[in-house]
Amino acid sequence: MAIPQVDVTRKTPTGRGIIDCDVHNELDSDRDLYPYLSRRWRDHIDAYGIRYYTGSFYPRFMDHRADAWPPSGRRAGSEVAFARDHFLNRYDIACAILNPLTPVGRQPNLELDAALATAVNDWQIAEWLDVEPRLRASMVIPYEDPPRAVEEIKRRGADKRFVQVLFLGRPHEPMGRRKYWPIYEACSTYGLHVASHAFFSAGNPITGAGHASYYIEDHIGPPQAMQANITSMVAEGVFEHFPTLNVVSVENGFGWVPALMWRLDGSWKLLRGEVPHLKRPPSEHIREHLYLSTQPMEEPPRSKPRYFEQLLEHYGYTDRLMFASDYPHWDGDSPEHAVPAYLSDEVKRRIFFENARALYRFT
């Protein structure tokens, strides 16, 4: 939904600026990466293109916000100068975290995936982070090839402007699987969080019941995939092994968290014999290690605002929710309207600023 025009002098909900946990820096075309790719891979892309796990694409409902397209004619989200004026300045964004949704993570050719990851990160540094000091970024990694992903983390991990590594929402295996553990080990070493951003597919149908038909189902689906991922990370003992690791769930909603915690705790009581390494109720790991961005929120019927308060109470804590706009995507949230007006100033301050500040250790 388009962010409405607002008076730029208006105070932000927090009074201290906003930390936005999901802003997208986009490629106008794959050729934007050519300066950062070797000849070998430029030739490869020229000849064969960038291929994906074919057959799992759901064309989006609409392209990016109409007002977010730069006058140059390049793609919305592809010019830092325009995003700065159009979004960061207008909404007093103190800091925005870039989540580049690129071909990385979706290449059957894992060597190409790794080359693209390196190129995307170099592009992020040169064209975004070096240009605009309010930006931080997710490091893209070829997570389906963990040894190469670890190489990339080592290459760029010391650059503190990378605050986390990025997984797309539906990797080839649930995120707790042992295959991915070298990545979590490297993240722990470098103090990086692990972000999981909604959507896409790495070769599986997008539901646990096969291929859905419509984009609306793709768009309803991220909570189900994220639940599978966080369940897997808890069940495999990731948080027991990497106690400092945090997961940031981006664009997956959060209304599903209480029911998931109840179901997991009940299931664990019944079936803990199968997962003897899991010493504590799953909900405790989720409480400690899972952070969630707000957009898009599960909103109760307008006539029942108290259901939202109940949801927050069932969730049991408000120090893990973080504002995200999803700029410049069509379904983004405006800072003006992202959370219900009746929430207390204290809760709003946490959601718009304090929770992300604490997680990312911004001063």
Binding site: N204, S213, T231, W256, G266
Partner: protein
């Protein structure tokens, strides 16, 4: 009381021989095929049987009608109980074999359960993976007064709203049966949107997400518009995940309904009108007040139906943790009235003579 989820286990594939054509008896004997035992209930896991339901002679729990009477029907004063046989017909890729075994299971259910116990009703087991063949089996047996439902495993090759299943839905509507989507399924594709998890614990807990995908599919594909009399029961699904899923689906519909213009009303309205859920497992929060809030958030006191899920075991007894905290009028609805209004309990024979026990008949 009406119990909407009782399990009758096929004790062994040999028990079906009186109902199988000779071709398939020979095939099973030659191949030593044990039958479709890709079960969602590992034989000795805590979920599969309450300790007092295990049979001393090695037959699976739930395979004894005498035990079922003694454990559930008599002590709880059950007026009607619905048998859900979870024999994994859906795991069979050979369509002729799937048809033969589905027919045998249904004939076995008639001869050894329905004709032996007037309080019982049953779900038709069908080769759901080939909807046209499933429809044939529904046409063969759907008018038998004992069958009130068609059993659809939650996991499937495709979400059930898909047009591939129209022959199945037409047959269900033609015979005025309920579609019972039940925990489990063995279609071969992964049970999550992100591949195969390691543990049964994850599949068990994660089934709620598969149900969520199925519900979304049925609504957005317009199944309830096409078949306005259709009723769908979610069995062993849990229900505490549904309110926020309703909110999410309603929100997506507001944004994306132009993609699915046949969906005329908010998804939650279809869900309340056409979908019912059994209350075991409960997946309840520790605080009963929060559980009652979730029930209120469903927006209808007609959606929940009592089920013991005999002989399976879950974390909580819904009578203790839930029903006794409700007003008497609501308890009565959940224990009997909602199911009474939903199912056809006293069907008259419509389709003429029912053919049962066709040993030696066609394949």
């Amino acid at each position: 009381m009406i119990d909407c989820d009782l399990h009758n286990e096929v004790p062994s594939v040999q028990a079906l021989f009186p109902y199988l054509p000779t071709h398939w008896i020979e095939h099973i004997e030659n191949t030593r095929f044990k039958g479709p035992i890709d079960t969602y209930y590992p034989p000795s896991a805590p979920v599969t049987a309450r300790p007092d339901c295990r049979l001393p002679d090695g037959r699976p729990a739930g395979s004894s009608l005498e035990r079922l009477r003694a454990h559930v029907l008599d002590p709880l004063g059950i007026e009607y109980g619905i048998l859900n046989c979870t024999y994994a017909i859906d795991s069979l890729h050979n369509p002729d074999q799937a048809v033969a075994l589905a027919q045998a299971v249904n004939d076995w259910q008639v001869a050894e359960w329905l004709e032996a116990e007037p309080r019982l009703r049953a779900s038709l087991v069908v080769p759901v993976q080939i909807p046209a063949l499933a429809a044939q089996e529904i046409d063969r047996m759907g008018d038998h007064p004992g069958f009130v439902q068609v059993l659809l495993p939650a996991r499937a090759e495709h979400p059930y709203g898909s047009r591939l299943y129209h022959p199945l839905w037409e047959a269900i509507a033609r015979h005025d049966l309920v579609a019972g989507i039940h925990f489990g399924g063995a279609p071969g594709n992964p049970p999550t949107a992100t591949g195969w998890p390691s543990f049964y614990f994850e599949e068990y807990a994660g089934m709620a997400q598969v149900f969520a995908s199925q519900v979304a599919s049925l609504v957005v594909e317009g199944v309830f518009e096409l078949y306005p009399t259709l009723r769908v029961a979610l069995i062993e699904s849990g229900f505490t995940w549904l309110p926020t899923h309703m909110w999410r689906c309603d929100k997506e519909w507001h944004n994306l309904r132009r993609l699915v213009p046949w969906v005329k009303r908010p998804p939650s309205e279809y869900m309340r009108a056409h979908i019912r859920l059994t209350i075991q497992p409960l997946d309840a929060p520790p605080d009963v007040r929060q559980l009652l809030e979730v029930v209120e958030q469903l927006g209808s006191d007609e959606m929940l139906m009592y089920a013991s899920d005999y002989p399976h075991q879950h974390e909580a007894d819904p009578r203790e943790r839930f029903l006794r905290h409700l007003p008497e009028t609501v308890t009565r609805k959940i224990e009997s009235e909602n199911a009474r209004a939903f199912y056809n309990w006293e069907k008259s024979m419509r389709g003429g003579e029912i053919r049962v026990g066709t040993r030696g008949g066609g394949t």
